[in-house]
Amino acid sequence: MRGSLRSRTIKWTLHYAVLLIYVVAALFPLYWLVKVSITPNDILYKQGTDLLPSRFSLEHYATVVGKSDFLLFFRNSIIVSGVTAIASTLLATASGYAFSRFVFRGKFWIVGLMLVTQMFPLVIVITPIFSIFGVLGLTNSLTGLIIIYTAFNIPFATFLMQSFFDGIPKELEEAAMIDGATRFKALVQIVAPLTLPGIVATVGFCFTGAWGEILFALLLNSSASTSTFPVGLLLYSTRATVEFGPMMAAGVLALLPVCVFFFLIQRYLVQGLTAGAVKG
């Protein structure tokens, strides 16, 4: 239609060429992680920069699973991220619903407060939280991390849930309330089932956020028994004798739950990012 065949061919070749660069840039670091994790130890350094190792082995994974604390760290992380995701989604569902459906005194300030806490440099709360949690016995405990992660996730999750509720017509609850339901019952029986994909996405976002957090985990939980996966991996990497193979195998394992959740939340990326425009 537009332009000659030749110029169109050039245009599309260029288009795919540039995209190829992006794809390679996105995948290469992850590929390298996987590659090192399956390269046997004896050739790991000899063939350090080769794109493909001459032999494969799962020995590093065996080391990680059998001879390290990583299973414990993994368990801790799953507990912390899982409970955080469910708790923050529950609380955010309630507050997001209030934001979406009610006009009430003080709403402006509450919304403003949530926005500000999202923008505030969290490093300022590191010291007071350490002191407070120390007094309450919440350092070196998974509960402490769950509380703090849930609080940090709530503003973002609230705005996300609000955007999902905004997409559900108000008339549906009104019809249910006229049909004889209380507002809470209408929320549970009518609105929640319709928001289910959004709720799942919110769980996904919160899980991913909690799974990768390292600053508070590092500061609050120094004992191995309550370390999360990121802390375990980071401390492992600073040991005197660094074993890259098992470490990268552990990195691949850390990636697995995230990949699962990424495909779960993929459809909602735009909604998630606009809801929490500041949250990376």
Partner: protein, 358 residues
């Protein structure tokens, strides 16, 4: 079945008054239609009756009981929404059964009630379908079914037909009316469409700017409007309004339009000080070409025809005037035609306030 009483109800959204003191009583079994342009407060009034909004002041009574503080679920009313508001994740049967389930009605009674409503509305074959698998008209019927299974004290309709195409709308108009005849339940029906109001209402409540303008049977509003708003809103094509001067003479009130004598009206009518009035006359009350009228003539601008009827757009002393007739008209542009009308069909309005002069 129940009566509905609304006493001096006001509603403000923030600083914006939406209802400015409304009094209305709807008799048991009556089909009342609230009609008016968008933003006139008719939907707000309906939602107040339903309990979906709280009145800023004033009282709402249903069946003699003050319901201001009752939540919607305790008011025993059913509502049909403009968007139908069918529960998307439930099939037709469950949509209709939901209210009865909430009341913990025995399953056998639910099945009976839902079956009865479905039969009445011709929905039996669709019982297992989800709302998204239904056409607009079918969804409308399910919304109706959801209302009638409950056997409520009153039905509330919020522009239930506006999402349907013209043909479907005509049919549902007729069906809702028939349903009301069968069930005899008190109904409050909100619409912006004056044809729906005229064809369906026992009584029309015409509203504008948060105030009830007139309450009466369709023909009362049509023939005897209380003000220019009602006169102009009811009827299609709309009533003609002409700027005019009124002066009391020996034989009656002499009306002139653009300096030319137009007609003479009875002495009994009251007049504003400055004599500035509007006269209103319905397009079908004017005849073209017949002599023996008041000797008024106008220039033809354009003729529209639908086949069944024609509307002639005329120019009378610089003011537009429409004439509606079932005759077929053939005129050249600019041609002057004589007009005839019965002065009994001329309504007189105050030029400033728009109130009817009687």
């Amino acid at each position: 079945m129940a009566s509905i009483e609304i006493a001096n109800v006001r509603k403000d959204f923030g600083a914006v008054p939406v209802l400015k003191g409304v009094d209305l009583s709807i008799a048991s079994g009556e089909f009342a239609v609230l009609v008016g342009p968008s933003g006139c407060g008719k939907s707000t009034l309906l939602r107040l009756i339903a309990g979906l909004e709280d009145a800023s002041s004033g009282d709402v009574h249903i069946d003699g009981r003050r319901v201001n503080d009752l939540p919607p679920r305790d008011r025993d009313i059913a509502m049909v929404f403009q968007s139908y508001a069918l529960y998307p994740h439930m099939n037709v049967r469950d949509n209709m059964a939901y209210s009865l389930k909430l009341k913990r009605t025995p399953a056998a009674r639910i099945a009976e009630a839902v079956g009865g409503a479905a039969a009445k509305l011709g929905l039996e074959a669709l019982a297992g379908r989800k709302p998204r698998e239904l056409s607009g008209g079918q969804r409308q019927r399910v919304a109706m079914g959801r209302a009638i299974v409950r056997n409520p004290k009153a039905f509330l309709f919020d522009e239930p037909l506006s999402n349907l195409d013209a043909r479907m709308r005509e049919q549902m108009r007729f069906e809702i009316r028939k349903l009301h005849r069968d069930l005899g339940a008190t109904s409050v029906y909100v619409t912006h469409d004056q044809i729906e109001a005229m064809t369906m209402a026992d009584r029309i409540v015409a509203m504008n700017a948060g105030i009830i303008q007139q309450v009466g049977t369709p023909l009362e509003l049509y023939d005897d409007p209380a003000n220019m708003f009602v006169a102009g809103f009811i009827g299609s094509p709309a009533m003609n309004f002409l700027d005019a001067r009124a002066r009391r003479g020996e034989h009656g009130i002499a009306i002139t339009v653009g300096g030319t004598a137009f007609c003479t009206l009875p002495q009994s009518l009251s007049l504003p000080e400055d004599g500035h009035v509007k006269i209103g006359i319905r397009p079908e009350r004017i005849r073209i070409g017949a002599s023996g009228g008041e000797g008024v003539d106008a220039a033809v601008d354009m003729v529209e025809t639908t086949g069944a009827a024609s509307v002639a757009h005329l120019d009378l002393a610089g003011q537009p005037l429409k004439v509606f007739t079932t005759e077929r008209l053939q005129f050249a542009q600019g041609q002057r035609v004589p007009l005839a009308f019965d002065t009994g069909h001329v309504c007189l309005f105050d030029g400033a306030s728009g109130d009817r002069l009687r």
